[in-house]
Amino acid sequence: MVMGMNRIFIPLIVFSFMACKPKKPTPIITAGQADFSTYISVGDGHMAGYMDDGLSLDGQTNSLGAILQQQLMMVGAPPIEMPWMSDQNVGLNLSGLSRLILGYKTDCQGITSLSPVRFSLQGETTSLSTSAYNPSKKFTNFGVPGARMIDLVSTSFGNPNLPQHNPFFARMSMDQFNLPGSGNFSSLQENAFNGGYPTFCSLYLGIEDVLPYAKSGATTNPMSPIAGFPGVGFEESLGQWCEQLYAQNVKAVIATIPNVSLCPFFNTIPYNGLTLDAEKAASLNQIYNPIGISFVVGANPFIVADPNAGMFGVRPAVPGEKILLSVPLDSVKCHQMGSVFPFRNEFVLTLEELSEIQNRIDAFNNIIRQKAATYGFAVVETNAFYQKLSSGFAFNGVTLSSKFVSGGAFSLDGIHLNPRGNAMLANEFIMAINKKFSAKIPLINALAFNAILFP
C-alpha cells in the first residue's frame, strides 16, 4: 500500500513543480526583406570602437559596429572581423597616447580627485606600423577613427604623402604595406568592396566632417564642403557610394549626424563656471570695471576673447556658448585663465559658430535622408537619440544622460560613446532596420555593457 502510494504521489509532486514554471515563449526573429548573409559596416571611430580617446581591443569589441553585428548574427550576419589592436589593450590615439581611464589626479591646488588619466605613458604605437590586413579574412567592420564622409571614396585617404592620410586606415588597407612604392592607394570604398559586394551595409559617417572644426573652437580644420566631386564634397561622395550599393542590389542602413555640441566635451564646463569669493570679485572688478565688465560673488560668466567685442576684444561668455573640455583646467584654477586671461577662441564655441556648425549638419542630414529615400535605405535619426541623452532618461532602472562620467553613456573623451552608449545607439540602428525592412530583430540589453569603470 505504501509502495503504491509512492508510485502515484512522487510523480505527481514532480509534475506539480514542473507545471509551476511559466513556459518560455518562442520569440519570432526574422530579417524581413533584408539579407545579412554578407555584411559590412563602414564608419568613423564610433563604428571602429574608438573611445576614451584611443583605439583599443576592448573598445573594438564594444564598438557600435561589433555590437550591432553581434546582434545581426541572430538573423544570419557573419562573424565579426576587425583590424584588431593588440591584446595588451593599451590603446592608441593619433598623438601616440594610450587610452584614458578614470584615475586619481592631483591638481595645481594640491587637491587629489577622480579624473581621466592616461592608461600608460605611451600608446601601442607599433599597431600603426603593423598591417592588420589578411587577404583570406575579409573585414566586416570598416570603421576608421577620424574618417569623414568625403574620405569614403577618396584615394588620398590612404596616401601617406598627403595630409588626408589616416594611419588607422593604413593599417587595415589592402595595399598600404603590400604594395610599397606603387604610388596607387586604394580608397576605403575599394577596400570595402574588394572581394565582392555585401548583401547589407551599415553606414555611419559625417560626424568627422564637422567635429574637428567644432573641437578646435571653430578656428581650424574646416568642415567638409557640401558640393564638390566625390572625395571633395559631401553630397557627391555619399552619392557615389549609394549608387554603387544600389547598382549591386545592396540594402543598407544610413545614420544621420547628431548635433555634436550635445556631447559632454562641449557641456561639462558651464559658461558661468567662474565662481568667485568677495576678494577675487573685487580684484577682477578693478581690472574689468573700466571696460564695463563687473563681477559678483558667486557664479560669473567666464571671460572670453572675441575680436568683435569692442576695442579690447574681450567679453563675458553668454548663455548657450560652449566652453570646451580642452581648456587647461589647472590654468583656470590657479592661473586665472577665463578671468584675468580670457579664454582664447580655440576653447570657445560662440552662438554664431554653433549655428554655423548646426546649419552644416542640417544640410548634411538632408542629403543623407534624401539619398536614403532615393535608394530605399533605412535611416537612423541619431540626433533624436543624442537629444534624449541630453535631457536624460530612465532605462531599466538606470538614468542615462550625456553628463560627463556620471551620465553613463559617453566615454572619457567626452565625444565618443562608451560600450553602453554604443549598445544603445546600435539599438537605434536595429529599430530603423526593423521598420524599413519589416524585420524582427530583438534589441540589445545595453545595460549588460560597461559604462565607466571606477577605481
Binding site: S16, F17, A19, C20, K21, P22, K24, P25, P27, I29, L102, Y104, L114, F393, A394, F395, N396, G397, V398, G408, N427, P442, L443, I444, N445, L447, A448, N450, A451, I452, L453, F454, P455
Partner: protein, 416 residues
C-alpha cells in the same frame, strides 16, 4: 495530547521562514485550510479556530475549544520577458511558508463568550531574481516577513448575532537589494541593500449572523496598519573612489498594510452541502509612495520617493463543501472546491519587479479527514497563473511578467 503539543511546537518553529507573496499586492490569503479549499472564502462559515482571523464575530459560535495549526508552502515562479530584447529572466524564489496558529477557548462560566489568540502571516514576500537579470538596477531581491499576533474576544449578543474584536500587533522585517549602475574596475556592478524591522498596531472586527436557517452571514473589517520601519539601515558596496558618495547609514521608511473589509454569506441548501461567497474590499490606496529618507545625504544619495499609486480593489471568492455522511454518524470526510477573481491594485505604469501583480483567476480544492471527534487534518491546494505586460513609468522597465503559483497546504486541528 502531550505528544501533540510537542509536535505542534516543532512544526511552529520550523515554519519561521520568509513568506512569498503572490496574492494581490503583497497580501497572502492563506490563513485557514478549510477556507483555502473553498477559494479562500468562508467568513460566514464557522468550522474551526481560523474564524479568529476570518471573522472574530463568529468565534463565539464555535462549539468547542480548539487548537489549529496550518502551513501552506508556496511554489511560485515568475518569468519576465523583456519586450525590447525578448530576453527571458526568471526568479529563484525560495519556497514561501505562510503559516497560521490559532487557539480558541470557550468560556466555561459565560457560554456566550469566547476568546482566542492567533499568529498569522497575512503579508509577506520573497522575490529573488536570477543573477544579472535585466531589471537588476530596479530590484534583485525583496524579502519581507510580517507576523500578526492577534488576541481576540467574541461575544454572542443574541442567540443569532455575534460580535468580535481583536487587537493586532504586527511585526515584520524587510530587506531590499538591488544593483547600482556604478562599476568596479573589473566591470562588476555595485550594490545596495536596505533593511529594517517594522511594527505597528491594528484591529480586527467582525459581526456574525446566524438566523438559524439555511443561511449565515458575516461582515468583518481588518484595519490597515502603518508599519514604521525602525532601525533601518542602508549598506552600499561601491568602488572605493565612490564610497564618499554612498555612505552607509541609517534610514527611515514605512510600509502601509491595507485594510480588508469582507462581506460573506454561507448557504446550506442541504444538510451536507455548503456554498460560501466572500467579497473583499482591500484598501490598497494607502500604498501610494515608497519613500526612503537617508540619514546621510550626498549629491549621489538623495532621499527617494517612488510613486506606487495603488488603488483600492475588490475580490470575489467562492467555494463549495461536501461532507461525506454515512448513516447518521458525524461526517469524517469533507471535500471542497473553489476559486475566485481579484483585481490588481497596481495601476498601469506602476508594475514593479517587487510585486509583479495582475488581475487573477485562481482555483482551489481541499479535503478534511477526522481521525477522531478530537483530532482532524485538513489539506488544500491553490493554483493560479497570472500574466501582465507593462512599462514602468519610473524605471522604464518594459516587459511581461508571468507568474505560476502552486500552494499545497496542510493543517491539523484538535478540539476538546
Amino acid at each position: 495530547m502531550p505528544i501533540n503539543v510537542k509536535f505542534l511546537l516543532l512544526l511552529f518553529l520550523s515554519w519561521i521562514s520568509p513568506v512569498y507573496v503572490f496574492c494581490q499586492g503583497f497580501q497572502v490569503n492563506f490563513q485557514g485550510q478549510k477556507q483555502q479549499g473553498m477559494g479562500c472564502s468562508g467568513s460566514a462559515l464557522v468550522q474551526d479556530a481560523s474564524v479568529l482571523f476570518y471573522n472574530p464575530g463568529g468565534a463565539c459560535f464555535a462549539s468547542k475549544r480548539e487548537l489549529n495549526v496550518a502551513s501552506t508552502p508556496i511554489f511560485a515562479n515568475v518569468m519576465y520577458v523583456d519586450s525590447s530584447t525578448q530576453q527571458v529572466f526568471r526568479t529563484e524564489n525560495p519556497v514561501g511558508t505562510p503559516f497560521s496558529c490559532y487557539a480558541l477557548i470557550k468560556s466555561q462560566k459565560f457560554h456566550r463568550l469566547a476568546y482566542g489568540l492567533s499568529i498569522t502571516t497575512p503579508f509577506g514576500s520573497t522575490v529573488q531574481y536570477e543573477e544579472d537579470w535585466i531589471g537588476r538596477f530596479a530590484l534583485t531581491r525583496l524579502a519581507m516577513k510580517v507576523f500578526h499576533l492577534q488576541p481576540t474576544m467574541s461575544f454572542k449578543i443574541t442567540d443569532n448575532l455575534g460580535l468580535g474584536a481583536g487587537l493586532v500587533w504586527s511585526s515584520g522585517a524587510v530587506s531590499l537589494q538591488k544593483d547600482l549602475p556604478v562599476q568596479f574596475d573589473d566591470g562588476t556592478f555595485g550594490a545596495a541593500e536596505i533593511s529594517g524591522k517594522a511594527s505597528g498596531f491594528g484591529y480586527n472586527l467582525g459581526i456574525f449572523y446566524n438566523p438559524g436557517g439555511v443561511l449565515t452571514a458575516g461582515l468583518s473589517y481588518r484595519s490597515g496598519i502603518h508599519m514604521a520601519i525602525s532601525s533601518g539601515q542602508v549598506e552600499f558596496n561601491v568602488p572605493e573612489a565612490l564610497a564618499p558618495n554612498f555612505p552607509n547609514g541609517a534610514l527611515a521608511s514605512s510600509l502601509p498594510l491595507p485594510s480588508v473589509t469582507t462581506l460573506g454569506i454561507n448557504l446550506r441548501p442541504k444538510n451536507n452541502w455548503n456554498v460560501v461567497l466572500d467579497v473583499n474590499w482591500v484598501g490598497w490606496k494607502t500604498y501610494d509612495t515608497l519613500a526612503f529618507d537617508y540619514e546621510n545625504n550626498t549629491p549621489s544619495l538623495l532621499d527617494t520617493k517612488s510613486a506606487r499609486n495603488y488603488k483600492n480593489i475588490i475580490a470575489f471568492r467562492t467555494g463549495i463543501q461536501y461532507a461525506v455522511q454515512r448513516n447518521d454518524e458525524d461526517p469524517k470526510v469533507w471535500f471542497r472546491l473553489g476559486g475566485g477573481f481579484g483585481f490588481s491594485p497596481v495601476k498601469a505604469g506602476y508594475l514593479t519587479p517587487e510585486t509583479p501583480d495582475a488581475n487573477r483567476w485562481y482555483g482551489t480544492a481541499g479535503f478534511s479527514y477526522a481521525f477522531s471527534p478530537h483530532f482532524s487534518m485538513d489539506a488544500s491546494v491553490y493554483l493560479t497563473r497570472i500574466q501582465r505586460g507593462d512599462t514602468n513609468l519610473e524605471t522604464g522597465l518594459s516587459g511581461t511578467f508571468t507568474t505560476i503559483a502552486l500552494a499545497p497546504g496542510i493543517g491539523l486541528n484538535y478540539k476538546w
